[in-house]
């Protein structure tokens, strides 16, 4: 997990507000009964959520190159947390973002020895 590379979901719109927080606009996942109800109630197809300042600073570090371990290092140094505190907090936050389909994870293949 620590060597995986988080990537922002291209299907989600990210906008930085004046406050530095990130506004996330995404399509609602409406399937089955939810889809029927959404049509009946004329619910908007997109929803928005604002990430707090700390979460926004973390997400801004996701550039498709940094691994989860790199982000742990960033969180530890930026917020003066021990490595373990940073790791636990970050993994929990990334799991939350992953559950909302805001980020995905590339798992790097392990290089095989040829000899």
């Amino acid at each position: 997990m620590l060597e995986s590379v988080p990537r922002l979901n291209a299907g989600v719109h990210w906008e930085e507000l004046d406050t530095g927080e990130l506004l996330v606009t995404y399509e609602r996942d409406a399937r089955g009964l939810k889809r029927v109800l959404a049509r009946l109630l004329v619910a908007p197809r997109t929803a928005q959520v604002v990430l707090d300042k700390i979460g926004s600073r973390v997400v801004k570090q996701i550039d498709g190159a940094k691994t989860v371990a790199d982000l742990v290092g960033f969180v530890s140094e930026e917020f003066k947390l021990s490595r373990k505190e940073a790791e636990v907090a970050l993994l929990k936050y990334l799991a939350l973002l992953g559950k909302r389909n805001f980020v995905g994870f590339d798992v790097r293949p392990v290089a095989k020895e040829t000899m």
């Binding site: 371990a69 003066k80 947390l81 490595r83 373990k84 790791e87 636990v88």
Partner: protein, 298 residues
């Protein structure tokens, strides 16, 4: 004895060891009499220690090691190659006042360790330093193992995890560690029903936005169990060069019910962006100051 509260010095339930800074507590169980603790580097366990108070029964280290070797063979299905090491593997200071036997084994990992029985505190234990097979570092193993101690001579107990270190009287037993990212809280209880809480809040700037430091004392006394009741008297003080507050709920008696005094200190270290608190109930006078003086706040 090693440097008391320096970073890199691990301290838990009376066990201390100098460990590389990236190694942090990842698992623990038990108490001072019998327990286990493991430190990892974010990828795998690098140091683990088990301890037990032997009571009246004398434990031979050699017999203990034989038993461990057999269980290791069983666990690794015979894959582990186990060797006892020369007594000179650990320096003489590591063998002072205790019976020690060092060993090495490797399977998927390479391990250096030693088993001991201490003539002073009565603990028996087994400590191991683990390496990936391709990264064996014998000097580091010797450094960590030879620095492993199981008691202090000053009546204190070092608690040092996640860059947070302090000394508390050894009569105070850890009841409840409350560790969440950004907040570490140790709750202790002494045999005379005295209580001690030592806490650290990281990202203090965020916490203080919601609640200024002078309002923390009410929440801190409310978290004592049983919760402190009564009017909180507090005054501004300087703690280790930082802005802080000293607070007190005096002892009181209502009929037959006697309520112990609650006193404490809370301070904000701007350099490390952390808030620290020490709260004591029914304890000896000045305990919060004594413990606060040992807190390393950087």
């Amino acid at each position: 004895m090693g440097n008391t509260t320096a970073r890199g010095r691990f301290g838990w339930q009376g066990i201390e060891a100098d460990v590389p800074t990236p190694w942090e507590l990842s698992a623990y169980r038990g108490d001072r009499d019998s327990g286990y603790a493991a430190l990892d580097d974010g990828v795998q366990v690098r140091f683990q220690v088990r301890w037990n108070r032997r009571g009246a029964r004398r434990v031979h280290v050699g017999v203990m090691l034989d038993r461990y070797c057999r269980s290791l063979h069983k666990k690794t299905k015979g894959r582990a190659a186990f060797d006892r090491l020369d007594p000179g593997f650990l320096p003489a200071r590591a063998r002072k006042d205790r019976e020690v036997e060092a060993f090495r084994w490797h399977a998927e990992v390479s391990v250096f360790g030693f088993a001991w029985t201490c003539h002073t505190c009565g603990r028996v234990g087994l400590a191991e330093v683990l390496f990936p097979v391709e990264e064996v570092d014998r000097p580091t193993a010797i450094r960590v193992l030879s620095s492993t101690e199981d008691h202090r001579s000053d009546g204190q107990c070092l608690w040092s995890v996640y860059d947070f270190a302090f000394l508390a009287p050894h009569t105070y037993n850890l009841q409840q560690p409350d560790f969440v990212p950004g907040r570490l809280c140790f709750r202790f209880r002494a045999p005379e029903r005295a209580r001690l809480t030592v806490g650290r809040w990281s990202m203090a700037a965020e916490w203080l936005k919601k609640r200024p430091l002078e309002d923390w004392s009410r929440d801190l006394v409310a978290q004592m169990q049983p919760a402190g009741r009564g009017k909180v008297e507090q005054c501004r003080v300087e703690v280790r060069g930082h802005e802080g507050w000293r607070f007190l709920i005096p002892a009181a008696r209502r009929g037959l019910v006697r309520r112990a005094a609650v006193e404490g200190l809370v301070w904000h270290c701007t350099q490390s962006d952390k808030v620290y608190a020490v709260v004591a109930q029914g304890s000896e006078d000045g305990l919060p100051e004594t413990v606060a003086a040992t807190v390393q706040c950087v």
